[in-house]
């Protein structure tokens, strides 16, 4: 199966273009766009870990190492497409248009972080594993019935493939030929459980065979492979070709969440090694150097701009108006039921008394 589903690479670890047919499309401009987003997602992730350590946001889910998966796939989307992310996909959400401030608000426990920017169909991250796959299939059916050319991307990890909803989502989408791309980030660990304990199959892509849909395995640390292959899958979906399963093979450098200690279940030397070899940002830098596109001044400028954006977002997050208790009651139903209305009134009255 590994031979039937080889890992597709467009940009090698050394920064050379492995597939000549993409050479013309890999322009300086596209490369710089990718690079800017990669740097941004990584810097945001590191900042969030540090904010969590300082107690300025809650438990945080880092994705460092998986930036190419998230940036490449999100840049492949059209504005009208749907995104169904997991809790580790805020890199993709930000690349698709969710603001940094909203991202931070989400990790600060605020519902404001779940409201997408105007016109963007970014559904809030799914926390229960694999449950978002059926949603994506349904939203894709909805677009098909409305006669749009919009497609859907849904993210999930390697562990999610063991859940029933993974099967039910792929099966439903394939039966109804729904325009959806199932984008798997195989970072090879579900918290502590390695992929060899998660499945007997050597690849995730091969599971597409069971649904008779295209399945492919790509280098998830190669932003160009991710971008081109996701674009192709989305185009196929838009044009009536139905769903695709993409397995992007990657690696999370750090912990599952800021509450997790990966040294309990794996040798972190592996992460160190991968930072030097397969890192998604390093290889774009190598490409830029090879092609003569490397411009130290521009890179510094990008970093400064991202830094300023992050600092601004942190200020906005921390000066955001205090959470309004009423919001907890007011958004459960379009019209609150009498139980909620009574509970709200009684609680607010008690609280006012306590504050006096």
């Amino acid at each position: 199966m590994e031979r039937d589903f080889p890992i597709v690479q467009v940009l090698s670890e050394e920064g050379t273009i492995a597939q000549p047919e993409y050479r013309e499309q890999i322009t300086k401009e596209l490369t710089m766009t990718m690079y800017r987003h990669l740097i941004r997602t990584r810097m945001v992730d590191r900042k969030c870990v540090s904010l969590q350590r300082q107690g300025r946001i809650g438990t945080y889910v880092p994705y460092e190492g998986q930036e190419a998966c998230q940036v490449g796939s999100a840049l492949a989307l059209n504005d009208g497409d749907w995104m169904f992310p997991t809790y580790r996909d805020h890199g993709a959400m930000m690349t698709f248009g969710r603001s940094l401030t909203q991202t931070l608000l989400y990790w600060k426990g605020r519902t404001e972080g779940c409201v997408p920017p105007e016109g963007k169909k970014i559904v809030p991250p799914s926390v229960p594993i694999a449950t978002q796959l059926p949603h994506a299939a349904g939203a894709a059916c909805a677009e098909k019935w409305k006669g749009t050319k919009n497609a859907v991307i849904v993210y999930f990890g390697d562990g999610a493939t063991s859940e029933g909803d993974f099967h039910e989502g792929l099966n439903f989408a394939s039966v109804f030929n729904a325009p959806v791309v199932f984008f798997n980030q195989n970072n090879q660990y579900a918290i502590s459980v390695p992929i060899t304990r998660q499945m007997k199959t050597k690849t995730i892509a091969q599971k597409a065979l069971a649904y008779d849909i295209p399945g492919l395995r790509i280098d998830g640390n190669d932003v160009f492979a991710v971008y081109f292959k996701t674009t192709e899958a989305l185009e196929r979906a838009r044009n009536g070709g139905g769903p695709t399963l993409i397995e992007a093979v990657t690696w999370r450098y750090g912990a599952h969440t800021t509450s997790d200690d990966p040294s309990r279940y794996r040798d972190q030397e592996e992460s160190k090694k991968r930072r030097e070899t397969t890192d998604p940002i390093k290889r774009v830098e190598r490409l830029m150097q090879r092609e003569g596109w490397w411009d130290e001044e521009w890179v510094n400028q990008v970093q400064e701009e991202v830094n300023a954006e992050i600092e601004q977002a942190v200020v906005e997050m921390e000066s955001y108006p205090k959470a309004n208790v009423s919001d907890m009651f007011d958004f459960v139903f379009a019209q609150p039921t009498w139980t909620i209305a009574e509970q709200k009134e009684a609680y607010l009255q008690w609280k006012r008394g306590m504050e006096r």
């Binding site: 559904v123 949603h135 349904g138 059916c141 909805a142 677009e143 029933g164 909803d165 039910e168 139980t339």
Partner: protein, 331 residues
């Protein structure tokens, strides 16, 4: 038989069919999904004829996957449709419980109203038809406990149609429980075309000053029968059909209990954690000092809904309800 103009004499299952047909005609965003609902017309024929009339894009036979098609329906609702899902039997809903609990019921709350899920989940429920295992559950309390979803349970054809249309038009998710045992038990005049019954409102079926009997769904005929027996003994009962299980009609309960001071609640489901306890809470909060006797609950037992050889002993009967009525009268 005299047939009135614009009125049809229908059973509950026919009234459900009529409501679905009415709404498929009325709104293009209404779609039906479920197992065997298309060509087969549903195992109870609730969707009979709808595939032929509206096509397979609007009446979808889905793969056998309660979580999958309920989840897909959530995605369709996010995408602007009003899906009506059929769960073949309430006892088969549990794989979809996660989808309902973690997504359908809280999408509005977690997105401050940006994304909403106007989804209806229909499910026949209850025992008393000699069905195989797991086909007889009445676990409504698993859903009345779930914040963010309304739970509706009609007992008559007229209410079934009006409440189902109201559920489809509701901007939030609604679980619509259909009393399987009453599906074809009796007929009632049902108006043609569209009408709605307000969700959250109960109905007084019998007037009496002595005792309040509260029931819903398949227990309503049991309560009525008990009330009629009581009447023969000179005890006059208010019989209330709750019709909606969340949110409860607090006013109709309080008004009656404050009049009678004596209450019997009839619940098919297991006793512990059941809806009857929430009704007791309403009585406690609204009518504590009006009570002349401790309220009685006639319920199923804290056992799995049994194999049908035992179901007559599991289910509340008119005799058990009558016994409870006499107990509160003689307190």
């Amino acid at each position: 038989m005299i047939t009135k103009v614009g009125v049809k004499s229908l059973t509950i299952v026919q009234a459900v069919n009529d409501a679905l047909r009415t709404m498929l005609k009325e709104r293009e965003d209404v779609i039906l999904l479920g197992e065997d609902i298309g060509k087969n017309g549903g195992v109870f024929r609730a969707t009979e004829g709808l595939l032929e009339e509206f096509g397979e894009e609007r009446v979808m036979d889905t793969p056998l996957s309660e979580a999958g098609f309920t989840g897909a329906a959530i995605g369709m609702a996010l995408g602007g449709f009003r899906p009506v899902v059929e769960i073949q039997f309430l006892g088969f809903i549990y794989p979809a419980y996660e989808q309902i609990m973690t997504h359908a019921a809280r999408m509005r709350a977690r997105t401050r109203g940006h994304f909403t899920v106007p989804l209806v989940i229909r499910a026949p429920y209850g025992a008393g038809v000699r069905a195989p295992e797991i086909h007889s559950d009445s676990t409504e309390a698993l859903f009345t406990h779930m914040p963010g979803i309304k739970v509706v349970c009609p007992a008559s054809p007229y209410d079934a149609k009006g409440l189902l249309i109201a559920a489809i038009e509701d901007p939030d998710p609604v679980l619509f429980l259909e009393p399987m045992r009453s599906y074809r038990a009796f007929r009632e005049d049902v108006p043609e075309g569209k009408y709605t019954i307000e969700i959250g409102k109960g109905k007084k079926l019998r007037e009496g000053d002595d005792v309040t009997v509260i029931a819903w769904g398949a227990m309503v005929p049991v309560a009525i029968k008990a009330a009629e027996e009581a009447k023969k003994k000179g005890i006059y009962a208010d019989v209330i059909d709750l019709r909606t299980l969340y949110p409860l009609d607090k006013d109709i309960i309080a008004e009656s209990v404050q009049k009678t001071g004596r209450t019997v609640i009839v619940q098919e489901a297991h006793a512990t954690g059941g809806l009857a306890n929430d009704i007791l809470a309403v009585i406690n909060d609204t009518s504590f000092f009006y009570q002349k006797a401790p309220a009685e609950r006639v319920t199923g037992f804290d056992v799995p809904v049994p194999f049908f050889a035992y179901e007559d002993d599991y289910l509340p009967t008119p005799a058990r309800v009558l016994h409870a009525i006499e107990k509160v009268m003689n307190f």
